[in-house]
Structures are given as C-alpha cells and as structure tokens.
C-alpha cells in the first residue's frame, strides 16, 4: 500500500509568492552545487543559471512517498522537494525539461508532467542521503504507486537518477 505524505512547511506562502511574483534573486549556494537549472531561468543566482546546494533543497517544502520502482526489489521511501517548486524557485518557464545525469544520460520531461504529477527531486532514500553509487545524490522520481498510468517504461525512463542539471527549453 502506497502512502503519500505531503509535508507542508511554514514557508508555503513564500515559495508561492516566489512562483507567482516577478523574478527575484535566488540565494547563492553556500555549499557544493548539486543541481543546476539552466536555460529559460528568470531568477538566476550564477551565470544565467540557478544553482542549488543540498541545503537549499533541504530548506524547501519536502514531499515524501513510498513506491515501487524497477530499480529496487521492494518499495522504497523517497523524500525531496517537488520538482515544480524547484523550477518555480528558479523562475523557470518552458515546455520541456531536459534532465541530465552525472553520466551524461539525459531524458526530456514534458512540463505537463511536472504540473500534473507530484514529481519530486528525491534527496533522501528511506530518509538517508544517497551516495553516487546509490544512484544519488538526486533522483527524479514519479509517484508510480499512486498513479498506475505512470507504471510504464516512458515514465521509468523519465525518472533520471544521479540528476545533475535541468535544462529548461
């Protein structure tokens, strides 16, 4: 049985405002950059890109669900910010997202997926950070168990792990 637990934090109002309001300068990452949102980004914090370190992602509202995936034998719990929140924070606006992994694997995710499904940028697996050899540190994951129509290779392929960059087009 799948459970979806949405963790609503007190910053809800702030990120909604950020999403709807005019472009606003994003904080500069303090630690190592783990995710870069490039392309059509209105709130860059570096050279026309929005860089995120793990702490920035951790500060965002977290969503967490348990689902089965083709990559693990059993259902696992994934936790992280919603992808649309990340994009919103970066002021990204586009129809296609190209998710690029550490090994240069890339896949294109239609923007509708992000609006329609609670796609998360998972940073915790079973509440633990993921190492690169554990397909970490970031993993785009769809709520496969909650939405049966997602259980096919198209969506499995869109679940990019070892996520490094999102190019907004």
């Amino acid at each position: 049985m799948t459970t979806i637990r949405r963790i609503l934090l007190k910053t809800t109002g702030a990120w909604l405002l950020g999403a709807a309001g005019p472009a606003r300068a994003l904080d500069k990452p303090a630690g190592a950059v783990v995710l870069t949102v490039a392309g059509r980004v209105r709130s860059p914090n570096a050279d026309a890109v929005a860089n995120f370190d793990m702490a920035m992602l951790e500060r965002m509202p977290q969503t967490s669900f348990t689902t089965r995936t083709p990559w693990y034998a059993h259902a696992r719990k994934f936790t992280g910010p919603l992808l649309r929140d990340v994009l919103s924070l970066a002021g990204a606006s586009g129809s296609t997202l190209r998710a690029v992994a550490l090994n240069d694997y890339w896949v294109e995710i239609p923007a509708e997926d992000v609006a329609q499904y609670d796609v998360i940028v998972a940073r915790l697996l079973d509440d633990k950070p993921m190492a690169v050899r554990d397909k970490g540190p970031l993993f785009v994951i769809y709520p496969f168990d909650a939405r049966p129509e997602l259980r096919n290779p198209v969506y499995y392929s869109r679940s990019a792990w070892q996520l490094r960059t999102i190019e907004v087009r």
């Binding site: 550490l102 090994n103 690169v132 050899r133 259980r151 290779p153 499995y156």
Partner: protein, 780 residues
C-alpha cells in the same frame, strides 16, 4: 403424438407444432450455451493477453538490456578514465576517477537487482562475472571506497589495471546475453500474442456465426408469431362474422316463430269459432263428446301457441312490460275465478290470500303478473291429486333491502327431487318424462314465467320435496301505485270506483237484446255502446271510436262473424294494455258450467246468464269495480229464474216482467215486447227456411237468439219453444221441428194477447203481423 390440439379443426397443422417448437427450443438453448462458452473463452483469452502485457510492463525485461548496456558503457568510461589516470603525461584527476568509479558501481548495483538476476540467471557465467566484478570492487574500494585504506596513486591504479581489463570480456558477454535473452523473449511473446490473436479471431468468427444463427432463428420465430397472429385475427374475424350470422339467423327464427304463431292464431280463432258453432248444430251425445275433446285440444293448442309467442317475444327482446296501476286484490280475485273451476274439477281446495300489509294498488303489468301467477297455480293444480293449493301474497324485503312482493304458491302435490328442480326452469323440461306424459303441456310455462319475473326485476324460486309438495315463490319489486281513495267495504274489498257513468261496450247481435241492455245500463246510470258482433267489438276496443275508453265489455257468446269467446281472446292479445285487460263479462242464455269454464279460460272475468237482471249485473259490476259502483241498487234475496219450475210455461213470466220494469217504464217494455213480436214472423220465416234447407245450425242460431231476447222480455212460452227448437234442431225429426216452428208462430199471437191482458199492450202502433188488437194504454 396425440395432443388435444389434434382434434381442433382450427389448427390443422397443430400436430406438427409441438415437435417444431421443441426443436426450436433445443436449438435456441444450444446456441445460448455456445454463446456463453464463447464469451467465456474470449474473456479468458483477453485476460491472458492483459496478464502478458502487464508482465511486460512491470517486469521490464527489455529494460534490463539497457541496464546491462549502461553497465558496459560505464565500464568502458571507467577504463578510459583509469588509463588517463595512469598515463604519466596527464595529471592525475582523482575526483573524475572517483565519480566514474561510483557511477560504474551504481550501475553494477542494478545487476544485483531481482529483475536483472531473473533475466540473467541461468546464464552459466553470469554469477561468475558478478563474483569477478565484486572481487575487483573489493580490491578497488581499498583505493576508491567510502573509507580508502591506501591513497590513490598511479602505481596502485596500475597494479589494478589488468584486473579491470579482465572484466571487459564478461561485461560485453553479459550485454550480448541480455540482448539475446530479451530477443528470444520478445519472439516468444510475439508467438503467444499471435496465438492469442488467432484464438481471438476464431472466437470472433464463431461468435459472429452464433449471433447470426441466433438472429435468424429469432427472425423466423418472429415471422411465425406474426403469421400466427394474422391467422388468429382472421379466425377472430371469421368467428365474429359467424356469430353475427348466427345471431341474425336466430333472430330471424325468433321473428319467424313470433310471426307464425301470430298468423296461426288468426285462422285458429276461426277454427275455434266454428267448433263452438258446430256445438249448436244439434249433435248426438257421441258427437258432442268428440266435439268437447276437439275443443279441449284446440284450447290446449291455443295455449301452446300463446306460450310460443311469449317465448319468442321474450327471446327476441320484443316483450315489453306495460306497468299500470294494479289492484292486487282484484287481480287475485280474477285469478281465483279462473282457477277455481280447475281446482273444483280435481276436488282440490284452493285458498288465495293476501297479507293485510300488502298495498292495494301497485305499479305492475297486470296481464303478465296474472300470467305468472296463473301458470304457477295451474301447475300446482295439475300436479296435485288431493289436498289444497294455496296462494299467499305478502310483502317481503328483497336482497338490497328494497320492498318486494312475494306470491307463494304451495301445493300438496307429488313434489320433486333435487335433479328435477335443477332442470325445472329449462326449456321443454317438465318435471320428468313420465309426468309430461301424464300432465301434458308445452314445458315452456315455467321458463316463460321465470323470464317474465326476471323482466320485472324479480325471480321465481322453488322449494320442494318428493311426496311433500312444492312451493314456488314469485318475487317482484314492489312499486307503489298512485294512492287510491280508500273505500269502506265489507271483507276488505277496497277497489277504485271507476268514473261514473261507466262506459260499457255491449256486443250483442239481437236488436231486442240491445234495447234491453240499453235500458238496463241506463237504469244503472251507465252509458251503453253497441256492436253487432265480436269482430266489431274487437275493433271498437282496438281503435276506440271517438277516443272513448270502455270500462267494461258485456259480451254475448253467440254472435255472427266472431263469437264472444273468440272476441275475448282477440281483445286479450291487443297491444294496448288498457284494452287487453278490460274486464269482459259473458252474456249467455245457457248456464252450463262447461260454457262458463270456456269463457273464463278464454279470459273473461265474469259470466251472466240471460235474462240479465239489474241485480245480477250490479253484483258483477260490484265484483269488478267495487261496492260503490252499484251501492244504491236494491239487492234481491234470490235471483229470478226465467222458467217456472213446474208445468207449462206461462205466456208472460210475471217475475221477469217485474224485473224488467225495474229498469224501464212499462211503456218501453211494452214497446220492446211489441217490436220483438213484430219481428217474430221474420224469425219464423228464417226458421222455416232452415228446416226446408236442412240447416240445423241456422235453425239453432235463430232459435237461440229468439230465446235470449224472449227471456229478457219475460216471454216465457216463446223462450221455452225457442229452447226446444235449439235443443232439438239436430236430432228431432223434421215434422216435430215443423210442429215446434208452428207452435212458435202461434205463440206470437197468444203472447201478444197475454201481454195486452197484462197491461203491456203496445201504445203506439199495432204490430202488422199480429192480429189487430185494441190499443191498450200503458198503466203504471
């Protein structure tokens, strides 16, 4: 196979029907079962296809190929990075190596996945490869693991390089094997899908065929139903036509029957008239006996005709009831006067009684009520050999609480068992066969009576036990008639006095008798109207000249054209109920009870013998119209008999003259006597002609007429001679008759003299045929 249908003429192919129906039912059943099975199979196939597809999706075997290829790719990238790291010309980039190494390990992790191992397991060298890789990782992790035990140096990397290179061959083999495996699996799945498709196609064809067969059979069934419905409709139409035809035929028959019985009655009345005339022709006792039998048969036949007429009218619905105010007690008296002779003839007591609570006047059809009661009573008398017949009239409460009249006729006759009672009211059934033979009758009487009773809104029921007699109850709704002014009267006789003076129709052929009756009725204060024969009387009742309604008919029995009995019967069948129920009183010179019975049976209400005295007529009118009608007439203690009991009759009967003088002045009586005597020679001539021509009937008719008139006028000797002629006309020798005619002629003169002597001399003109006589002034 024999079924009830076989015998039905309406379904000639019915015998084949059940077989065909069973065949169709079997086929429909088989097709239904097949359809069900086929659908089940389709469901199974599709279920399996769905399972197969699901498996493909969830298992993602083909995904394994990608995984394994990525493992190989990452292996090659790691090798590349490794070679760069040990190349002394390039600076050592530990981080890049570390990342490549980690990425490769993350791919290796996928090989440990269940799914991958399921695909790859069974490949002999897969586990060896995994072990080989794991062994390398253990060694490499000393440099590049989460907790390195040694620093990453070129030498260390170089030392591990051969082991890394050794993984190339198995990793590549793994990729090939995975591709081959998935290819084989795809081929296998394709075969399965093709098989499923073929099975599905077959099933679809089968289903289509079944559906087609089903549709065809249904279509056939519908067409047959349609045909059957059309046939039934046609049959119904034919039946309707047949029923209409049958009804028309039945109605035509009823009409024919009604017309025929009506047509038969007319000549039949002539026949009966002739029979009664034949009686006057001087028959010997044996002939009289034969004639009586013939007359009885004729009466019986007439009754049957009347029954048939009634029945056919009831059946054709043309019988209508004419409700009129009826005096129930008078009606019962009429019935009693009709039935008493029959009861007397069988020595039965007859009690007719009306409960005091029964109202006097009700609304009813008197003719039909009388007919029903008469029928019940005559049955009771017919089937009783001793004891009494009782008619009780009482008021009762009907089923709906409405007031009813109950005529209960009980007898002490032979009674009936249940079966007989059940069959009683059915047509032509008369008790049982043996009874019919004993008692005669049409068997229509009770059916007619019950139908009449029901037409009135009532019914007839019966209670009976063998040997204990029967009780028939005739019920009819009680409808109150207009209230009549109550009259005091002895013995509860309360009747309505008709408007005075009564309009009296007298049917009388003899002119002297007409004058006498005119005087008599005038003296009683009534108005007399005359007709000369029965036919005229019937016409007068039918057409009511001058809009006159006659209250009573005084009917001479012996008349030319149509006699009194025939005229009475004709009047009783007139359509106008008032005319048909008019009281009729017979006037006759003979007082035989046989004659009296004949009159009553024909429907007359009373019977007066000539000479008709004012007292007798008054008493009769009182019986018919109530006490008031003649209240002022003195009633004599004893009726005056026309003939002196002993010795030769006098010329003038003083008692009769005294009676006549009660109703008319002496002058008028004298004038009438003279007129009679003046016509005497003509009578003598006719008598002589009849003797000469050997016409005994003519002789009797003339003698009878003369006798009646003579009796009324008190001319006793002439009356006696006329009677002798009447009686002897057919059997006395000619010379004896001639002597009697001569005597009659002589008496004309002698009587005239005697009349003069008695102070009844003609005041006006002397009779030319009579000897000249001194004019006598009327005294008195």
């Amino acid at each position: 196979m024999a079924t009830a249908n076989d015998r039905s003429p309406l379904a000639p192919h019915a015998a084949a029907e059940p077989g065909a129906r069973r065949w169709r039912a079997t086929w429909l059943g088989a097709i239904g079962v097949s359809l069900g099975l086929a659908l089940l199979a389709v469901a199974l196939v599709q279920g399996r296809q769905a399972t197969l597809l699901n498996q493909t999706v969830t298992v993602g075997d083909d995904y394994v190929v990608l995984t394994v290829y990525q493992v190989e790719t990452e292996y090659l990238r790691l090798c590349n990075q490794w070679h760069r790291a040990i190349d002394p010309r390039i600076p050592l980039d530990r981080d890049a190596l570390q990342l490549r190494y980690d990425i490769w390990i993350s791919r290796i992790g996928l090989l440990h996945n269940d799914r991958t191992s399921r695909v790859m397991f069974g490949q002999a060298d897969f586990s060896d490869t995994l072990r080989q890789i794991d062994a390398f990782i253990v060694r490499a992790d000393e440099l590049l693991g989460a907790k390195p035990q040694r620093p990453v140096t070129r030498d260390a990397l170089e030392a591990l390089e051969p082991a890394l290179m050794a993984l190339g061959e198995p990793t590549h083999g793994m990729s090939l094997r995975a591709a081959h495996h998935v290819g084989a699996q795809l081929a296998q799945r394709n075969v399965a899908v093709r098989q499923h498709n073929q099975v599905g196609l077959g099933l679809t064809i089968f289903l289509s065929a079944l559906t087609l067969a089903f549709a065809l059979i249904s279509l056939r069934q519908m067409r047959q139903l349609e045909q059957r419905r059309a046939a039934l409709e046609e049959l119904a139409a034919n039946l309707r036509v047949a029923r209409r035809d049958a009804e028309a035929a039945s109605e035509a028959k009823s009409m024919f029957l009604a017309n025929m019985s009506h047509e038969i009655r007319t000549p039949f009345h002539g026949l009966m008239g002739m029979l009664s005339l034949l009686r006057e022709t001087g028959l010997n006792p044996r002939q009289i006996d034969y004639l009586r039998t013939a007359t009885e048969s004729a009466d019986h036949l007439l009754a049957i005709l009347n029954d048939i007429l009634d029945m056919s009218q009831l059946e054709s619905g043309r019988m209508t009831l004419a409700a009129a105010p009826v005096d129930l007690r008078a009606l019962l008296r009429d019935v009693e006067s009709l039935m008493r002779p029959q009861a007397n003839a069988k020595h039965l007591a007859l009690h007719i009684d009306a409960d005091p609570s029964v109202p006097d006047r009700v609304l009813a059809d008197p003719t039909r009520v009388k007919q029903v009661v008469f029928n019940l009573l005559s049955n009771a008398i017919k089937f009783s050999d001793r004891g009494a017949v009782v008619l009780d009239l009482r008021q009762a409460e009907g089923a709906g609480g409405a007031a009813e009249l109950e005529f209960v006729v009980s007898d002490t006759g032979i009674g009936m068992d249940d079966a007989t009672q059940a069959a009683l009211f059915r047509r032509f059934v008369q008790g049982d066969g043996s009874r019919s033979r004993r008692h005669g009758g049409t068997g229509l009487g009770l059916e007619i009576s019950r139908n009449l009773a029901r037409l009135m809104g009532g019914d007839i029921t019966v209670r009976s036990k063998v040997g204990e007699g029967s009780a028939f109850t005739f019920r009819m709704p009680l409808q109150m008639g207009p209230e009549a002014p109550s009259t005091h009267g002895a013995a509860g006789h309360e009747t309505v006095p008709p408007p005075r003076p009564l309009q009296v129709l007298v049917a009388e052929d003899h002119p002297v008798n007409r004058q006498y009756m005119a005087a008599l009725l005038e003296s009683l204060g009534h108005e007399a109207h005359f007709t000369a024969n029965g036919e005229e009387a019937v016409e007068a009742m039918r057409y009511r000249p001058g809009g006159r309604r006659f209250d009573i008919v005084l009917m001479d029995l012996h008349m030319p054209v149509l006699d009194g009995v025939g005229a009475t019967r004709a009047i009783r069948t007139l359509p106008d109920p008032a005319a048909a129920t008019v009281p009729i009183v017979a006037l006759t010179a003979d007082a035989f009870s046989e004659t009296r019975d004949r009159c009553l049976v024909a429907g007359m209400n009373d019977f007066l013998t000539k000479p008709v005295s004012p007292q007798k007529l008054a008493a009769s009118l009182r019986r018919l119209f109530g006490a008031d009608a003649l209240a002022e007439m003195p009633i004599e203690a004893a009726p005056i008999e026309p003939l002196a009991p002993t010795g030769a009759p006098p010329f003038i009967d003083n008692a009769a003259v005294a009676m006549a003088l009660q109703i008319m002045p002496r002058e008028r009586l004298a004038a009438m006597i003279h007129e009679f005597l003046e016509q005497g020679p003509q009578t003598v001539q006719r008598l002589r002609a009849a003797v000469r021509d050997a016409q005994p009937l003519e002789l009797r008719v003339n003698a009878h007429a003369a006798r009646g008139a003579a009796l009324n006028l008190g001319l006793a000797a002439i009356a006696a001679t006329a009677e002798a002629l009447h009686e002897g006309a057919s059997h006395l020798p000619a010379h004896e008759i001639a002597r009697l005619v001569q005597r009659f002629e002589d008496l004309l003169r002698l009587t005239l003299e005697a009349a003069r002597a008695a102070g009844l001399g003609a005041s006006a003109k002397p009779a030319p045929a009579a000897p000249p006589a001194p004019a006598a002034s009327a005294t008195g």
